[in-house]
């Protein structure tokens, strides 16, 4: 199977790749948000101490 045929998904490229792309974005957001919140917590806590 060629790379082009793989990405064409038998003519359903738009539906398949939009689904996978959106899933990736949502799942990444659920990781990034708490990581930022933790960093923010430590920054604020250190500020208060000083």
């Amino acid at each position: 199977m060629s790379v082009q045929a793989f990405f064409a998904m038998g003519g359903y490229a738009f539906y398949v790749w939009t689904s996978f792309g959106l899933t990736l974005c949502v799942l990444l957001a659920n990781i990034i948000i708490p990581v930022i919140q933790r960093k923010q917590f430590f920054i604020n806590a250190l500020k208060k101490k000083r």
Binding site: M9, G10, V16, S19, L22, T23, L27, P34, F42
Partner: protein
């Protein structure tokens, strides 16, 4: 409690203590990430490359590898949230309360993914983005339940009170779970019946089934990772005046 072996009981007692949970999950995290990456790459390779196209739906069916596991997760996380909420309500275990509320955004995300990918699958196969079919409607109600839980928790300032309110809402909403599961059998509508969770043999070929189960496992591990990250933040915020958090801050150990 004599039915449960002693080390197991001790493990759960220690895990219910916030500082212990914080340190333990920190060490657990790299292993979870490795398992998640292995499962996901194997599942995607099997599902997108190795598995043959469907004889009716062509390659469009490959959306199943995220659609179905997401839909399973949306139900599973809801049940976890309701049980954790109930435990928090009955035994006042702070960590259970936090697990309940931290599950809500992750469950809402999976519900949203299930609905959105379902829509993208429905357009080429059914010819429509959306129908008011029993399965689709009950899943949409599940999304509103999750959003209701998040909104209610945010609206009450005292987080212990908020946790109680949220737990009751989550428990009431549990009636929706069997409705979603059996909707395709009770109402004969557009959404197809179950192909995997049938009492007899699943009506899906093994080359398609294995990647599907791998993706389901991968999403379970993902839930654990995302849950731990959120629980840790919530623990820090709720316990910000306690000594162990102050120690973490002065060590600047994130």
């Amino acid at each position: 409690m004599f039915l449960v072996p002693d080390p197991v009981v001790r493990f759960f007692h220690r895990m219910a203590s916030p500082p212990h949970f914080y340190v333990f999950t920190e060490r657990l995290m790299p292993w979870l990430v490795i398992i998640f990456l292995l499962l996901t790459s194997a599942g995607l390779y099997g599902g997108l490359y190795l598995a043959p196209p469907d004889y009716q739906q062509g390659d469009s069916y490959r959306i199943i590898y995220i659609h179905v596991p997401s839909a399973w997760m949306s139900l599973f996380i809801y049940v976890v949230m309701a049980i954790a909420g109930a435990i928090g309500l009955i035994w006042r275990i702070k960590l259970a309360e936090i697990v309940a509320i931290s599950s809500a955004p992750i469950g809402a995300s999976f519900t949203f993914i299930a609905l959105f990918t379902g829509s993208l699958w429905g357009k080429p196969m059914w010819g429509t983005w959306w129908v008011w079919d029993a399965r689709l409607t009950s899943e949409l109600i599940l999304l509103f339940l999750y959003l209701g839980v998040i909104g209610l928790y945010g609206a009450i300032d005292d987080k212990r009170v908020a946790s109680k309110a949220v737990a009751i809402l989550a428990l009431v909403g549990v009636v929706n779970i069997p409705i979603i599961h059996y909707s395709v059998e009770w109402w004969n509508t557009l959404h197809q019946g179950p192909t995997v969770t049938k009492m007899d043999k699943p009506s899906i070929h093994v080359s398609m089934l294995i990647p599907l189960l791998l993706m389901a496992l991968s999403f379970n591990v993902y839930y654990l990772i995302a849950l731990i990250l959120r629980v840790r933040v919530e623990l820090l915020q709720r316990e910000r005046n306690s000594q162990w958090v102050k120690n973490k801050v002065s060590e600047n150990k994130q």
